[in-house]
Assembly symmetry: C2
Homo-oligomer: 488 residues x 2
């Protein structure tokens, strides 16, 4: 495994870019051959995240030859795991699994990986819901905070509204035009009078799409809720389990089984296509194939040059599908001191007015490391504000916020990692892309319809667990099935 160079860690720090501070981690990375070549396969897959790898793996098992072109020098896309010195790991990207995420659980099993229960039990901190400085220690599931009852009422209403969405065709929802031409902020204003509840429910947009209620379509929110099995599943079940060794290694295991078919360091710039096939041009390689599966975020899929140009609706919809904005912080402490707090804390906290919108305990089983690991999420407008600051200054503000919640021990992490996913050129944002208002009703099935030999994957195109790793896998498998069914 190649170590990342310092330049790769710090290369994008201009303008508040990606940054990792701390030296307890080595990147789990794979650098493959970069030789120029012209090659042929049944299917060329663009992107070696979970979606692209799942597509390639299914195709390979079906007997097709594949080439996977990955722009980065590593596989795993929006998962990226660092091993800690002395044991343990942190996930800088996607990190949980659970609930009804059955395709991910199946792939984990197939690759011989193991899960463990996320640290749980204890109480969640609710802050700043009423006003800056408000502080409650609650059992989250009992909505035991000011506005909590009304929040529950709103959640139930959303679940009820979402229940009628067909995730395969949300544009057919009754009243779709009005729901899609309302932002979620407007829905909140119209439907929730209580400010605390409005803020708490608005926070959903952060934790699902790393977006702000002001920019996301209400219909798209209902789609996400329904496709992810309802709010209870999104808020609880989806974080139930973690992976021993982290999430990226499972992607790496799939890549290992694909062997030399996976080419890293190959950004795709241009795709020629017609009814007969594709010619995919990467920086140092051209692949001719019968089909292509483009398994990158919609915005990046749209950034490729297509010759001829994509069909109108597809060309347009990729322009209305931005990535969310999040800085993920991983703080490593000598021990999980919050668990010893007399308030019986579980490391989870929510503050819709603060920089760090959410925290979670990301500890690993004791046999791997006794370290305490706290994850913090800085979302959307908050991330935009602090992104330009020098990294050390941002770190200071973050730790001060964490200390307010969990006590002064939080000021002294052993190591501190952060990743601003927007500065990752080949992701341009995380967790996911979301559809802007109007786009669902205007462009409909262009979100997923193949364009001749071009097939679209990526978690954004999933109809079950979109925005999660499970959705990525399902989208890749669905695209592979399209190719297999096309038989030619």
């Amino acid at each position: 495994m190649a170590k990342f160079t310092r330049r790769q860690f710090l290369g994008t720090s201009i303008g508040g870019g990606a940054l990792l501070i701390g030296g307890d981690a080595t990147a789990q990375d794979t650098t493959r051959a970069k030789s120029a070549a012209r090659t042929r396969a049944d299917v060329c897959i663009v992107g070696a995240g979970y979606a692209g790898l799942a597509a390639a793996w299914r195709l390979k098992k079906a007997g097709a030859s594949v080439i996977v072109l990955e722009a980065r020098t590593r596989v795993g896309g929006r998962t990226w795991t660092m091993n800690m010195k002395g044991g343990g790991w942190i996930d800088l990207g996607g990190q949980w699994v659970g609930g009804s995420q059955k395709r991910y659980l199946a792939l984990i099993e197939e690759m011989g990986a193991k899960t463990y229960p996320s640290p749980d039990g204890g109480k969640t901190l609710y802050l700043g819901i009423t006003e800056p400085g408000y502080f409650a220690v609650t059992n989250e599931k009992e909505y035991d905070y000011p506005g909590g009852n009304l929040t529950k009422v709103a959640y139930d209403k959303l679940d009820e509204l979402a229940d009628k969405v067909n995730p395969e065709a949300p544009w057919n929802y009754p009243g779709a035009e009005e729901y899609d031409s309302n932002t979620f902020a407007e829905w909140l204003r119209k439907n929730i009078e209580n400010e605390n509840a409005r803020r708490a429910v608005g926070g959903l947009v952060s934790s699902v799409a790393c977006a702000s209620p002001e920019e996301i379509s209400t219909l798209h929110m209902l789609f996400l809720i329904k496709a992810c099995d309802g709010l209870k599943a999104i808020k609880n079940d989806a974080q139930e389990l973690r992976l021993i060794g982290g999430t990226q290694p499972v992607a790496k295991k799939v890549a290992d089984r694909l062997g030399a078919a996976v080419k890293t360091g190959q950004p795709v710039r241009r795709i020629e296509w017609n009814a007969g096939g594709v010619k995919v041009h990467a920086d140092r390689m051209t692949v001719e194939a019968r089909h292509a599966i483009i398994a990158v975020p919609p915005n990046l899929a749209g950034a490729i040059e297509y010759d001829p140009a994509l069909p109108t609706d597809r060309m347009q919809v990729t322009q209305r599908w931005p990535q969310g904005l999040v800085i993920k912080v991983q703080m490593v402490f000598s021990e999980p001191f919050w668990r010893e707090d007399k308030r019986q804390l579980n490391g989870a906290s929510l503050d819709y007015l603060a920089l760090v919108g959410e925290t979670a305990d990301s500890g690993v089983p004791e046999e791997y490391s006794k370290a305490g690991i706290l994850t913090g999420f800085i979302y959307s407008a908050q991330a935009r504000k602090v992104a330009p600051l020098p990294a050390e200054e941002r770190k200071k503000i973050v730790l001060q916020e964490i200390a307010k919640r969990f006590g002064p021990k939080a000021l002294n992490p052993v190591n501190y990692h952060e990743l601003n996913w927007t500065t990752q050129q080949w992701s341009r944002g995380c967790f996911t892309g979301f559809l802007t208002p109007g786009a669902t009703v205007l462009f409909r099935s262009a979100v997923r319809d193949p364009s001749g030999p071009l097939h679209w994957a990526g978690t954004e195109t999933a109809t079950i667990w979109p925005s999660f790793i499970d959705g990525a896998i399902r989208s890749g498998e669905r695209a592979a099935d399209e190719v297999i069914k096309a038989k030619g």
Copy 2:
């Protein structure tokens, strides 16, 4: 001047792409040297539309050396003029000038080009405002149609609301957060009870941004109205004049004065940058420069790979700035028969329920051609619906609609041209990019702030006449001034 090959005309017809039928036109095109090279200049400009050319021209006059890299094999960007056999011309893209578009008028004069008054006088047809099939012959300026008075009331209200917008900083507008998190469709629902008036006012979004009310921010609409000098200017003055010879030739004249500095057929894929300068990688050329001016639509600016990645807010805002969707049709008849109609028609028509949302008389002065030329615009949702049809079928539907308005002579054009700008890989839509809900308030001055040595131009970044050619020129000149002031 190189003739376009048939492949270039028809190359994108798969999936309802760009298409030109008819043989009376030759493209005004310039194919320059395509040799591989590594070169150096003070400033590298990406894009040889009006914005990039205006930037280069101002810089050259200020004594700077420039290289302009253009992806297409022609200059002019979203302007594209065809000469008709036997005289006359049609503009497949931007075609008008007038009102307070002073920078465009100045450039026209500087390049020795001439304007002429758009054919005017006579009456406009209003159709389908009340219900499908409704038909009125009116004087547009008198709002002499059902719902006309209420339309005028709504226009006045919008002008009044827009008047308080500072186009340099619309995010500071009173109530900006609420206006930006409402789509214009929602504003229409809340503010205009009368259905006819609501539809007529909603039509503004088409004619300004080729978008649907369901997808555009109300604050952004107010910004566009104010920046373009109010609704009267947008609806009337901006179409006052046309150019003898069409709009693209003025761009070509600027390019001619820049000479060998303009390199066509050079799509830019990657830009390395730091505080000291830029290295701009096109397909067959790398330019090292102190500054770069990226003068392409925001979505395309975002499609380039930047190393390091762009600052967070800039990377994100380009993902929330889609291009509009329009198919522009130019129908050439042996004579302008509508002018002889006893209803005294001026060739203008509006129908918010039909495929062809608007028409206009695009005739040229008689000494050039006696042909009658009608322009038709197919906007947004309507364009999305017909884009996948075979071109001949679409043509038939269009002509049938035109015949309903102007009589059976419309069924037999001498020539028929259409251009679906979305299928133009290096535009991806027209007339302009628009900001989706929430983006203005979330990302603020990232729409225009330079990122180190990277400067942003293109009509979308203009604060006066954005979405028009005048705005493009102003944006290029503003970016040039940024570079000149930076002095280094």
